[in-house]
Subunit: 133 residues, 2 copies
Amino acid sequence: MFPTASSTEELERGAVLAPRFDANGLIAAVTTHAQTGEVLMLAWMNAQALQLTLETGQAHYFSRSRQALWKKGETSGQVQQVTEVRVDCDQDAVLLKVLPQGDGGACHVGFRSCFYRVVEDGVLVEREEPSRT
Amino acid sequence: MFPTASSTEELERGAVLAPRFDANGLIAAVTTHAQTGEVLMLAWMNAQALQLTLETGQAHYFSRSRQALWKKGETSGQVQQVTEVRVDCDQDAVLLKVLPQGDGGACHVGFRSCFYRVVEDGVLVEREEPSRT
């Protein structure tokens, strides 16, 4: 579905999308809000999820717990319209910018972002990011 | 070094930092710029790297290619002063906010962020994020 880069130069500076999936066939995906830049979640994609994300413009992931393709929002309504897809230098991570649909959230716990807790003196404190646009 | 959460409720809403390392003992870490919010990199931490990051206030990772603890900037000078550490809902990902030292970059290729390429019509195009503060 995706090619393999033939050299470090091609991997890092080339124009060919050649994602490096891990031993489980997965790549990490960071998802941010297209308007605020807030980091919403970190999830995983297999080749099919990445392909469907690029084809449909809606975020697809791979659920490690369910071991299944997962179209974000299929049950929650929190569909993610993708405005941009980036890859990192060694193409083992993907960055999505999205516009969350439905209630505008991304986290099943009920927060806007999955990263709603800060580590303070070794203890977790719930504190959402201040909104910014 | 870190405890295991005893329930989903404790994992998702508790105050105990109970990171869920994967089969290789690693957890994904997303690193953003503390001032601009730009996503700089995605890397990995083992328990020691996370502990050292929390203790020293400087980002430590685990290099999967070198299979070794990696203090960011030790050779490049791109030390990352950590201003905030967050965890996600199921505690299998960490979000760091950092102030990059040295030349202010985070990527070994020479860009400010590792995510310097956009996927456009299936092809990678180098385009750094516009600066914003």
